[in-house]
């Protein structure tokens, strides 16, 4: 049995079947709040644990899928290119917004983590939480974080950010669609962008280009930080 489960196609198949089920469910149902990603991760963990399948066996096939994250990072150039005119029109606001936004994301996690007594390992795993997943995984690798924890915290941040955005914009009186879009994209990456498109098209476009921009800028902050922490 273990020979069959260690076949790389097993991990590939399990991921594909869980993924297609939850993406299908999201499409046919009215449950727009479903995160197919979070549900797929949960179901696969339950199946592996429940059926006593060693994680190492699953990993054989899962790694094939994970190897696409690098090329996917390259593809993030396309939406940045497509929105280059929106970017140039408000370049100083967007650049300064994503630079301060991604810096504050890292700084706040750093201080709150220490305040809550989290270990260095956890703090470093949580620091990439606002960065879009393919870039966030690279960030977690640079910081020697727990990659699984980084990914789950990126998803939780995205879901919570999209949920809390209307309240934050109301309390802090953030009214312009551009500001709302940049805030959503910088904080809650792709999931926030979905929310931004519900607000309006300008907000969505701003959010979409902020994802890649904030991701790139965050890496610069993180490389700088790691140069200080791990000399």
């Amino acid at each position: 049995m273990i020979e069959l489960l260690s076949n790389p196609v097993f991990g590939l198949f399990l991921t594909l079947i869980c993924g297609s089920f939850f993406w299908w469910l999201k499409n046919v149902s009215k449950f727009t709040w479903i995160s197919p990603l979070l549900f797929s991760i949960g179901l696969i963990i339950i199946l592996l644990q429940g059926l006593n399948i060693p994680y190492e066996a699953y990993k054989q096939g899962a790694d094939i899928i994970q190897n696409f994250l690098g090329p996917i990072t390259v593809i993030l150039a396309v939406p940045l290119y497509e929105h280059r005119e929106d970017l140039m029109r408000h370049k100083s606001a967007i650049f300064i917004g994503t630079i301060t936004g991604s810096f504050s994301a890292l700084l706040v996690v750093f201080f709150l983590g220490h305040l809550f007594g989290l270990s260095e390992l956890f703090i470093h795993s949580l620091m990439p939480k606002s960065v879009t997943t393919p870039i966030g995984i690279s960030a977690s690798e640079i910081l020697n974080g727990i990659i699984g924890l980084s990914v789950v915290s990126i998803i939780i941040t995205g879901l919570f950010g999209a949920f809390v955005a209307p309240a934050v914009f109301k309390v802090f009186k953030i009214k312009s669609a551009i500001a709302q879009g940049v805030a959503l994209g910088t904080t809650a990456h792709v999931i926030g962008t979905g929310k931004a498109y519900e607000i309006d098209r300008v907000c969505g476009a701003m959010s979409g280009l902020s994802i890649g921009l904030a991701g790139v800028i965050s890496i610069f902050w993180i490389v700088l930080y790691s140069a200080i922490v791990f000399p």
Binding site: L38, A77, T100, G101, I155, I174, A183, G215
Partner: protein, 117 residues
């Protein structure tokens, strides 16, 4: 064949990025260097959007699928995380609100200032 061609282009940019990353004196993601190179190539019109459009639409639409294995990898360190789950959720929730407010306020301020000028 179109898909093969577009995959070749993306993989070539990615591997070039990784190659350059190896030459750097510090650790930097190769995929991000590939991103810069592709953006530059599009900007200089050496490549056109149609040359990567089909593949990039697919990957951008189903990007989250490719994160599943990375998320599942949390089980190999679950016992480590279990004891700290409450402070971790606390950090995530509070920092998300603060980051979103700071980013929004900064951009809102800059846009209002431009409109006043």
């Amino acid at each position: 064949m179109v898909i093969f061609k577009q995959l070749n282009i993306i993989f070539a940019f990615y591997l070039t990025g990784e190659g350059i990353a190896l030459l750097l004196p510090f650790s930097f993601p190769g995929g991000l260097i590939g991103l810069f190179l592709l953006y530059l190539t599009l900007l200089l019109k050496w490549l056109h959007l149609e040359d990567v459009k089909l593949l990039s639409d697919f990957f951008l639409k189903y990007m989250a699928f490719f994160f599943i294995p990375a998320g599942v990898s949390i089980i190999s360190s679950y016992t480590l995380i279990e004891s700290a789950i409450i402070p971790i959720i606390g950090v995530l929730i509070i920092s998300t609100i603060i980051t979103m407010a700071i980013t929004g306020l900064v951009v809102d301020y800059l846009i209002k200032r431009v409109e006043h000028d």
